[in-house]
């Protein structure tokens, strides 16, 4: 199969789904003439014209407002918020409007929006361009958070998200845009809400997402080779609501769990995963669940600090050894 980048996979998803469904339109800062800060919306303006590909002013709340309002009218907006850190500027729209509209109005309206945004550390861009933000939205019933780790998933999940009738926050880890993988040329959708076993294993369940899936896979290979530890790596793909069944099924077999997430430890998605596993698989656990996270501090500028603060493969390996040796 053909190999393309994560970014091109997303771009292809937009091209193909917009061609298929004329309710879909794209808006955001610099998405039209420039094709997006990361190039994900490249070529859409030429193909679909200014009605369906809109450069907005630097107004995040208005971008979400347009998305919500248009969605209420039956369109399917795909809004780009350039960096996830800027979701702070339209937090109200997402939390109080998008997420609640369907419930608040007794199911009489839907809010099928996708908010794409670049998340994660590693870009040397410091405090306001490096955060992992999913935890800010974890406690907001009604929102769905999707986060692919491979080009294949990126394309299929973006299409799946656009077709989903719920408001979806779609996280694109900025260090993955340039990674490559096999992606079918035809249009396909992957289901929202399903995790995937990216690598089967018997001793330890590693649950990860986005860039941390790749750290986890690398560690799993190494530990398999060097220490005869067999790790199963689960890629959540949908962070909220997450796929409890797949996780619990794996934990029932391994009894040992390592959770890997790039956000600061306190209050990250890992906390919810750990609490759920405890609640539902207490007796299966052979060791305390280990959480691998960034330190509880902002993402600093100096590379030595950034690299130290976020989870490194060696942190994952250490956690795996800890659950095995417990």
């Amino acid at each position: 199969m053909r190999t393309i980048t994560f970014k091109d996979a997303l771009n292809e998803a937009l091209h193909q789904e917009m061609a298929r469904d004329d309710r879909v339109f794209v808006l955001g800062e610099d998405v039209a003439r420039m094709g997006g800060d990361f190039g994900v919306t490249m070529g859409l303006l030429r193909k679909f014209g200014p009605d369906r590909v809109k450069d907005t002013p630097l107004s995040e709340a208005a971008i979400l407002g347009v998305a919500n309002g248009a969605a209420f009218c039956g369109l399917r907006p795909v809004a780009e918020i350039m960096f996830a850190d800027f979701l702070t500027e339209c937090y109200d729209q997402l939390v109080n409007n998008s997420a609640k509209a369907h419930y608040m109005f007794a199911g009489k309206v839907k809010c099928p929006i996708v908010v794409r945004t670049a998340t994660g550390a590693g870009f040397r861009a410091a405090y306001h361009h490096s955060q992992n933000v999913e935890a800010w939205f974890m406690n907001v019933p009604g929102l769905t958070i999707v986060a692919p780790s491979t080009p294949y998933d990126a394309k299929g999940l973006l299409v799946g998200a656009i077709r989903d009738d719920n408001p979806i926050l779609f996280l694109e880890h900025k260090m993955l845009y340039g990674t490559s993988g096999e992606v079918p040329e035809e249009l396909y959708a992957l289901p929202i809400g399903r995790a995937e076993v990216k690598r089967p294993g018997a001793d330890v369940t590693i649950v990860a997402s986005m860039k941390m899936v790749h750290h986890s896979l690398a560690v799993a290979d190494e530990l398999d080779r060097e220490e005869e530890i067999s790790c199963e790596v689960l890629d959540l793909r949908t962070l909220i609501p997450f796929d409890k069944e797949t996780i619990l099924e794996s934990v029932a077999r391994t009894g040992r769990v390592v959770l890997v997430n790039e956000a600061p430890k306190t209050g990250s998605l890992n906390a919810e995963l750990a609490a759920t596993i405890i609640e539902e698989a207490f007796d299966a656990l052979k060791a305390p669940v280990q959480r691998v996270n960034a330190l509880d501090c902002p993402v600093g500028f100096a590379p030595a600090i950034e690299d130290y603060v976020v989870p490194r493969p060696e942190d994952v390996a250490r956690a795996v050894r800890a659950v095995v040796d417990y």
Partner: protein, 326 residues
């Protein structure tokens, strides 16, 4: 401006309806039938009725927290609006929204959001949808002098200005945001003038003169329908009661309240009808009585309607995904 006789009679009937509706809500609130707190529009009937005279089928309206009257003007049955405020399953949102979240999508009422200012950007989305689909629909957004303080006011008007969005900004200036005088919150006296920053015309009219309101909003709506973009129409009026029902409103002088009550929009319209010999005192009394009957029937309906049950609680959090109850 003078509207035709039939229209003025219709305005009068509607203003009486709104007035009696609000008084009834207050009465039943005191009797314990209305959960939560309510914001009454007594005194603002001419603004609500006059502005909504230009609302046509296919248009959108975003009422605000003090907009029971606007909701009625959309055509939602009085019974359904009252039942909603009472929190009954027969309400237009099945008792799920209440006073601050009354929507009727089928009739173009996209509902309020109790975060002041939030809907200002939703309005852009409704307008963009009608632009993309070339439906000619106009979006009416109601908001108060206080809400002008929010950042979304700017993001909305800036976008509306640059995209020439078909929006009528109905700025209901009743002089206060809770206890804060409009003149203490904004550096201009006539807030419609703020349109100057956005190349959007602004017009300020006597919000208690239903004919003046109808004319100004009508012109703005026509401009929008012609594709010439948005207008701010500021309606100067006053709320007779406190901010919410029960607020003693001791932050404002008795004298001011008295003077504004003198300028009662219903009284003024009654006088016009009599002066122009368009109605006799008896005919007016007949209108009042007919409204009264409608109100009392609605009360009976709302009182008799069932309340939601616990199992309604987890419906509609997501489209197509269940949430567990207790």
């Amino acid at each position: 401006m003078t509207v035709p006789k039939e229209q003025l009679l219709d305005f009068y009937r509607k203003m009486v309806l709104v007035r009696r509706f609000e008084e009834t809500v207050e009465e039943y609130s005191k009797k314990g039938y209305v959960p939560g707190f309510i914001h009454l529009g007594v005194g603002q009937e001419a603004a609500q009725v006059g502005a909504m005279a230009s609302f046509q089928e296919g248009d959108y309206v975003l009422p605000d927290h003090r907009s029971h009257g606007v909701c009625l003007m959309v055509g939602t049955p009085v019974t359904e609006v009252l039942a909603e405020i009472f929190g009954k399953t027969t309400g237009c949102n099945k008792g799920r929204g209440g006073s601050m979240h009354i929507a009727d999508f089928a009739r173009g009422n996209v509902g309020n959001n109790a975060i002041q200012g939030s809907t200002l950007v939703t309005a852009c989305g409704l307008a963009v949808a009608s632009q993309i689909r070339r439906t000619g629909a106009v979006t009416f957004i109601f908001f108060g002098d206080g809400t002008v303080g929010r950042g979304e006011f700017h993001e909305s008007l800036n976008l509306a200005g640059v995209w020439k969005l078909p929006i009528v900004y109905v700025l209901v200036n009743n002089g206060y945001a809770i206890s804060t005088r409009a003149t203490d919150a904004h550096p201009l006296e006539d807030l419609a003038e703020m349109g100057c920053a956005y190349n959007i015309p602004g017009v300020t009219v006597d919000g208690n003169d239903v004919e003046a309101v109808c004319a100004a909003v009508g012109e703005a709506a026509e401009r929008a329908r012609r594709g010439e973009g948005a207008t701010i129409v500021e309606l100067k009026t006053y709320r007779w009661q406190g901010h919410f029902s029960g607020d003693p409103a001791s932050y404002r002088p008795e004298e001011e309240v008295r003077a504004w009550k003198e300028r009662c929009p219903l009284k003024a319209t009654r006088k016009k009808l009599i002066d122009r010999k368009w109605a006799t005192a008896e005919e007016i009394a007949a209108i009042d009585a007919a409204v009264e009957k409608e109100i009392q029937e609605a009360v009976q309906f709302a009182v008799d309607s069932p309340t939601p049950t616990e199992k309604d609680a987890v419906a509609h959090v997501y489209v197509g995904r269940e949430v567990a109850g207790k």
